[in-house]
């Protein structure tokens, strides 16, 4: 049984705009899944189906094998946590502590458990010192961490991040990457994220879905997707710099192995140049 599964999922806005067309998507346990696609490809619309914010026009969405119903909506929103692109949409309480406590409070937990979850989430994101700060005193990166902490405090099994690197500085991106990479192994969580930042995908994801105009046009492992450089260029997506460079070198006759992330590329270059 998959954690999330969509079958021929279709969504039409206002009976006129087809945002999703026959999407088949599967997310299993402890997976790190990237969904890439240009603006308007339907990534955010798909995410909003994962916890019942949007209802399918046709097709099915199953969470742990069960369809989303009014009776299980609270349980599903606890299971699938979504972090939105703009933290100002998500961080709405007057202080950081109150915002992180919002989700656990809605779950009807007792005072002590709420306190424990808030402390844990703040510790995990390394923002304990921000506890009493009002959100408008935080930087973009800090607000993003608060937004993630607010969702993690609900202890979801699936963390969905919509464009998590948007508006972050390079250090913020590095911190977020290492944090996301810890979640499946240390906490058994599944992470699904969308991004335009393709260089990041090979660092975080094990599986990729490529979306275009509401459809899944390709899916596969990082190697399988980034090998199709023409497909990515055709969809107005960047090809990651390292595989692009290695491919150029290969075309020029240099014997070098293909690699998709920094670590593998370093090994490939050292091997190719005999160091």
């Amino acid at each position: 049984m998959h954690l999330i599964e969509t079958r021929e999922l279709t969504h039409t806005y206002n009976k006129t705009i087809d945002a999703l067309k026959g999407v088949n998507f599967i997310a299993g346990r402890k997976q790190r899944i990237a969904i890439i696609g240009a603006n308007g490809a339907g990534k955010s619309t798909l995410f909003k189906h994962f916890n019942g914010i949007l209802k399918p026009t046709s097709g099915e969405i199953l969470i742990r094998g069960e369809p989303i119903k009014k009776s299980n909506i609270k349980e599903i929103r606890k299971l699938v946590g979504i972090v939105f692109q703009n933290s100002d949409d998500q961080v709405f309480s007057p202080t950081v502590e109150q915002d992180v406590a919002f989700g656990p409070t809605n779950l009807g937990l007792d005072e002590q458990t709420i306190e424990h979850r808030v402390n844990e989430a703040l510790r995990l994101l390394d923002i304990e010192e921000l506890r009493d700060r009002p959100p408008h005193h935080l930087s973009g990166g800090e607000k993003k961490r608060v937004a993630i902490a607010g969702v993690l405090a609900m202890e979801p099994q699936v963390l969905v991040l919509d464009e998590p690197t948007a508006g972050l500085d390079p250090r913020g991106v590095t911190d977020l990457t290492s944090f996301v990479n810890r979640l499946p192994e240390e906490y058994g969580m599944t992470v699904i994220f969308s991004t335009h930042h393709v260089d990041l995908v090979s660092e975080i994801a094990d599986y990729i879905y490529v979306m275009d105009r509401g459809q899944i046009v390709a899916k596969g492992t990082v190697d399988e997707i980034f090998m199709q450089q023409d497909l990515l260029s055709g969809l107005r997506l960047d090809v990651p710099v390292l595989p692009k460079l290695i491919k150029t070198l290969q075309e020029k006759g240099i014997d070098i192995d293909m690699a998709y992330n920094y670590e593998d590329s370093e090994k490939a270059f050292l091997k190719a140049f005999g160091r």
Partner: protein, 271 residues
Amino acid sequence: MIEEIYTIERQAMGNSPVHKIDARVKIIIAFSVIIAMVAYPYSVDVIIPGAIFFGFFAVLWSISKISFIGYLKRVFLILPFGIFIILFQIFFENRHYDTFTPIVDLPLNIHIYAESVEFASILLVKFIICISFIILLSSTTTMQDMLTGARRLGLPSEFALIIGLMIRYLFVFAEIFEKVINVFETRCFNAFDRRLPYNYRLKTLGYAIGTLFLRSYEQGERTYTSMLCRGYSKDSFLHVSRQRLKRGEFSFLAISLVFIILIPVISYFYL
């Protein structure tokens, strides 16, 4: 104008002993003074508790290390709301006096009565003391702390959640407003520039206001969606952790309350 919100907040985040007192203590003291002043009978003696309470306010204000000019500015900003009602009293008879002595006769059979002037002065004293304590409360307590304090004192959870959202988005919209102003300035638009056609200026301002409305609507939709994602329902409430008052705060509150109750009682019955 809305950018003043940051100035008020900076002031409220001060480090003085008055700033550091728990919000609950300040809320109770401010409201006790207001109740004492409002409940005090309409008599010229009101000047006695009024002067003593103003002294109490002045002591707290000076400890808070906020400039007196700042206080005066705020009083003058708030004053028009009350002064309008107070000034009007001098032309009318009221139920607190049996006889009315005209001191000025105006056309259209309008008179200014000595008793009504006295009544307006009493109202003015009450009004000044009440707004002074509200100014003290808002200048030494951040909005977030005030909400937390009010919630701990039993403010209904529905109100707390809505006020919490309002506080949060007041600052978000102050930021958006600032950005709009920056865009206008960057592109050399000034609504008071008489060289630009009047209609054009009006239209541009209209567009900006319309955009702000649309953005607030969209922001509301997005925020509501994210609230739903975190389990929001009609039973949701703002979490406020429990916190006991420190012994010093408790003593200060107790002494202040005794003082606030005794002063009007002594003034009315014994002076």
